[in-house]
């Protein structure tokens, strides 16, 4: 289980990393936490000729409050997300999810940027970023662009990221005070990807749901954003029939593959159940409900 031969690069700055990415194109790969990439390299499912290790770039780490947006550096680890006071206060769905991602050792290495850039439908952060309507900052030697998480994912391991681009930060519109949010994930055991999972954010005012977003993990080729599920609770008091309708819409949007985690029917039903649980939990945390 030794990876193929590659050349190792350890840039100290984003500029150096971008120059290397520009130079090597499709032969180069970014190494962040390595906890998706290295297992793939051990299986020789990935054999990059050049590995560009971004762990020495201090500028890629850290979580900042910029008022209307929370910025998380791509190199920030899940362990850092899990223990962030800022996120616990302003965007608690992220630490809630981090606690359900892998295990302590993996969380010490695995990064937010890697989780979002990887393109594996089993990754948990993409659905959450879609629910939060986050955007990703992508940099290359040609410049910088922002892309919405909702537009980023194209298929299994295919994303809008170009070979010469580095995801440098995740930008999350600061959730308004009183927004309720929850990430509910069913998995076989610690350190397993989701059988199905749902991310929900919702706002309540005078007992009515004024806004909501629902996104699903691992029940399609990418994370899914079933708009009909969110529509089913908007404008309602989020009573049992609205929750049922949202769960039905989430199930209708789900297209899981049959695998060790279960049959299509089971995983679809779990997408509905996680949607239900996440709505109920988010509602209990929302102000004005």
């Amino acid at each position: 289980m030794t990876p193929g031969v590659f050349e190792y690069h350890r840039p100290n700055t984003v500029e150096e990393a971008l120059a290397l990415l520009g130079q090597f194109g499709e032969d180069g790969k970014v190494l962040a936490g390595g906890h998706s990439l290295v297992p793939m390299m051990k299986l020789r499912l990935a054999e990059p000729a050049h590995l560009i290790d971004i762990n020495a770039i201090d500028g890629l780490r850290g979580i900042r409050d910029e008022g209307d947006v929370i910025v998380i550096g791509a190199g920030t680890t899940q362990a850092e997300v899990l223990t962030s006071d800022l996120l616990a206060k302003k965007c608690p769905i992220l630490p809630e999810a981090a606690a359900q991602i892998a295990d302590p050792q993996v969380r010490n290495c695995g990064t937010i940027g890697g989780n979002c850039a990887n393109g594996d439908p089993g990754n948990d952060d993409p659905a959450i970023m879609m629910a939060l309507d986050a955007s990703y900052t992508l940099q290359s030697q040609d410049g910088e662009r922002q892309i919405a998480a909702r537009e980023f994912y194209q298929g299994i391991y295919t994303t809008a990221l170009a070979d010469n681009e580095l995801l440098t930060e995740v930008r999350i519109p600061t959730p308004a005070e009183g927004v309720g949010m929850s990430y509910q994930k069913i998995k076989r055991k610690v350190g397993d990807y989701a059988i199905a999972a749902a991310a929900v954010t919702l706002s309540m005012s005078n007992g009515q749901c004024t806004d909501a977003a629902i996104a699903l993990t691992n029940v399609g080729d990418t994370a899914l954003l079933p708009l009909a599920a969110a529509d089913a609770i908007k404008g309602t008091s989020v009573d049992a029939s609205a929750v049922d309708a949202a769960a039905e819409a989430a199930m209708a949007a789900s297209e899981p593959v049959e695998d060790l985690r279960g049959t299509r029917e089971y995983r679809t039903a779990m997408a509905g159940q996680m949607t239900r649980q996440a709505i109920v939990e988010a509602l209990s945390r929302a102000a004005g409900s």
Binding site: V5, F6, E7, Y8, G34, M41, Q105
Partner: protein
């Protein structure tokens, strides 16, 4: 393929070596340095048998390249005892029967070593979450939790006595 020079501290001693970039840290430890205490229990980064302490954090050494440890500080199971005196964790595993076949034990110990620094007085639940990246196929975990509890109590008592 060009090798790269690395230097790091392993269990308090400076080590310099030439490694191929693709050499995993676990292979470097076991095959180049003959530090065979850290085990390889899986091919998918799941089992935690290879856990080492790198720069104050528990990591799976099968999923880190040796070149990435350049300049780092590493503690492996070989560095846990103080000469012939067992670390309280080793004593705990011995006293509380925290092992059967022993395959998972080095990884468990080195993970628990960091866990007790992060959280010196963990509840049983916190211990279980703390070692959730380490699989044991023998014990059912109960005695491992007790062994870690034993060590926490012993360390805390010793510190209380100071």
């Amino acid at each position: 393929m060009s090798s790269q020079k690395i230097s790091l501290t392993i269990n308090g001693e400076s080590v310099e070596a030439e490694v191929e970039p693709r050499t995993l840290l676990i292979h470097f430890l076991r095959e180049e340095l003959n530090l065979t205490g850290s085990h390889i229990g899986c091919e998918t980064s799941h089992c935690g048998a290879c856990t080492v302490d790198l720069n104050g954090k528990s990591v799976k050494s099968c999923t880190v390249f040796a070149v990435q440890a350049n300049g780092g500080e590493l503690v492996t199971i070989e560095g846990l005892a103080n000469g012939t005196e067992m670390h309280p964790l080793q004593e705990g595993f011995y006293e509380a029967h925290g092992l059967q076949c022993g395959y998972c034990t080095p990884g468990m110990l080195i993970r628990a070593y960091r866990l007790l620094q992060e959280n010196p007085d963990p509840s049983d639940d916190e211990i279980r979450v703390g070692i959730s990246g380490n699989l044991c196929r023998c014990t059912g975990y109960q005695n491992i939790v007790e062994a870690i509890r034993y060590a926490a109590d012993k360390i805390n008592q010793a510190e209380g006595a100071d």
